[in-house]
Subunit: 125 residues, 2 copies
């Protein structure tokens, strides 16, 4: 993969790479995508329950931005009490394998990274 093909040095707003990497720069987006990937469709509180430590506000914010990007679709049922279902769009699904491969790498190299970290911190003290 050549340098030119990456185009990672453009301004953030117009650079696909930076733009999308920024999307994963937040704390919850990837996690929500992965959760949605496991169940086809999920309600707000179901997602909330699965990700124990996300606040209601951040789950809303995250879902809204994923929806804005066309990665997640939101379907409201006009009932009382209200019911809202979230699911990955095709675009969202097409992203999952790439995230998964990253997770897989993480799993495989986690102990190595942690070992390196503690070794590095030792030297510092």
């Amino acid at each position: 993969m050549s340098s030119e093909s990456l185009k990672i040095f453009a301004e953030t707003e117009t650079c696909p790479a930076r733009n999308v990497l920024d999307r994963f720069g937040d704390k919850w987006s990837t996690l929500v995508i992965l959760v949605l990937n496991e169940e086809e469709k999920l309600r707000f509180n179901e997602i909330h329950k699965v990700i124990g430590d996300i606040s209601q506000k951040m789950l809303t914010v995250t879902l809204r931005s994923l929806e804005a990007d066309g990665l997640v679709s939101r379907k409201v049922y006009p009932e009382i009490p209200p019911r809202v279902e979230y699911k990955l769009t095709d675009l969202g699904k097409s992203l999952v394998p790439h995230i998964s491969s990253l997770i897989k790498w993480a799993d495989q190299n986690f102990s190595s990274i942690m070992a390196s970290r503690s070794k590095y911190n030792q030297k510092a003290n």
Copy 2:
């Protein structure tokens, strides 16, 4: 890929997935990795020049944390003026393909995402 194999719901500190995703949560790490991937070895100011809009401080911080994780190696030459060379470790190199596949996805779907974004923002107003 099953839910169980992902293990994304554990505590952040002990969860490989979250731990590594957090690493890419910062603004510059992936960018620095990609830059280092293109040149085999680079000096501090060379990296700085390639990534035009990173501050000296953040480049230092980023390189240090990448070094701590064992993704980047740092070699100091005892000369005056000082010379320091950075390069990816094998571990760092093994990560690159996964990032690249993400970038590739970003490139391919950027216009689609941007279109979705502006459409979403229209509705909001």
